[in-house]
Symmetry: C2
Subunit: 190 residues, 2 copies
């Protein structure tokens, strides 16, 4: 796989109780080395617009046709605003990888969802959708779900776009920007 | 000079007529390769708080003590909100480089300032302060002013932190972020 492939990483900003919306940042990079474009949008906290917002960011970007994969920090943005990665893949035909450092604890997630959401079953079904793969790295393992590419292709993409730690650069930088914009100074993820 | 020195690049977002403030982004990088931190603040358009805002960003950053140089996109932020780089150097003891691709046209600047500002003389004096150096690059030349370091040190810093084109990465990325946050999608500088 070419080292210079274009990747889009999407992550949201931190938020506090009572906040209605959160910032969502998209970072287009060539591999893990060269930053080409920043996208910005807002998302409803605990809303149901995550899929739509991601689609909007991708569809309206001038890099859309060159993107080889989309990287997401887990299956949700803005709290429990769940992303349907199958829909995104179907509508864009761009392969998707969701990646987390911690193995999702579905029992805990179910408890929280039941407490706060009338539509908890729909959200849980969407969060649980797809197979979780454990990927070994030089450091700790990461957990991914994929759509539109093979596990080994996803592994290659994660490897070529990670500089330090276990988080690919487009995701790490999207996190730093979203956190810096929201709080004045960013706090990392590595 | 070490390739991994910490640099801070500061740039502002675009704005339209009638807007009161603009976003200012700080990007802390190791050389031109590894992004470590994002800082964010706002500035009054055509105000007089540019020096204070830059100082505030630097003084409050946890990377302050490790910064080897500050890079600014010219002598102003938020329209004609002029930065006093001597004050910033005196108060922080961190070397500063202002860098532009176009040679400043002081006659034009004077005309604009006279039209719009009662304190045009003060602003013009500040903009003209310091010696302008023409630096040759592989592509077009750039124009810099420096404080706290030699021309050859400044040249080294520009060289080690530039990947493509003539703009050092901390400045190029600060511009992309400020522009992306303001407009939804960034438009570049290379």
């Amino acid at each position: 796989m070419k080292k210079q492939i274009r990747l889009l990483g999407i992550d949201d900003g931190p938020f506090t109780f009572g906040q209605q919306t959160s910032i969502v940042i998209g970072v287009v990079m060539r591999g893990g080395a060269y930053l080409e474009c920043i996208l910005c949008n807002t998302i409803t906290i605990d809303g149901t617009d995550a899929t739509e917002i991601c689609l909007d960011m991708i569809q309206h970007s001038r890099y859309k046709k060159q993107l080889k994969a989309i990287l997401l920090d887990g299956a949700t943005l803005g709290g429990f605003n769940v992303i349907d990665i199958n829909t995104i893949y179907e509508k864009t035909q761009i392969p998707i990888i969701t990646l987390t450092r911690d193995k999702p604890n579905f029992t805990k997630i179910e408890d929280v969802l039941k407490k706060h959401f009338v539509d908890w079953k729909d959200r849980l079904t969407l969060i649980k959708k797809g197979t979780l793969h454990k990927i070994l790295t030089k450091h700790n393992p990461v957990y991914i779900k994929i759509n539109g590419l093979s596990i080994s292709e996803a592994e290659d993409i994660i490897k070529l776009s990670t500089i330090r730690g276990v988080i690919p650069e487009p995701l790490r930088i999207a996190h730093l920007i979203a956190s810096g914009i929201t709080q004045g100074e960013s706090y990392g993820k590595a």
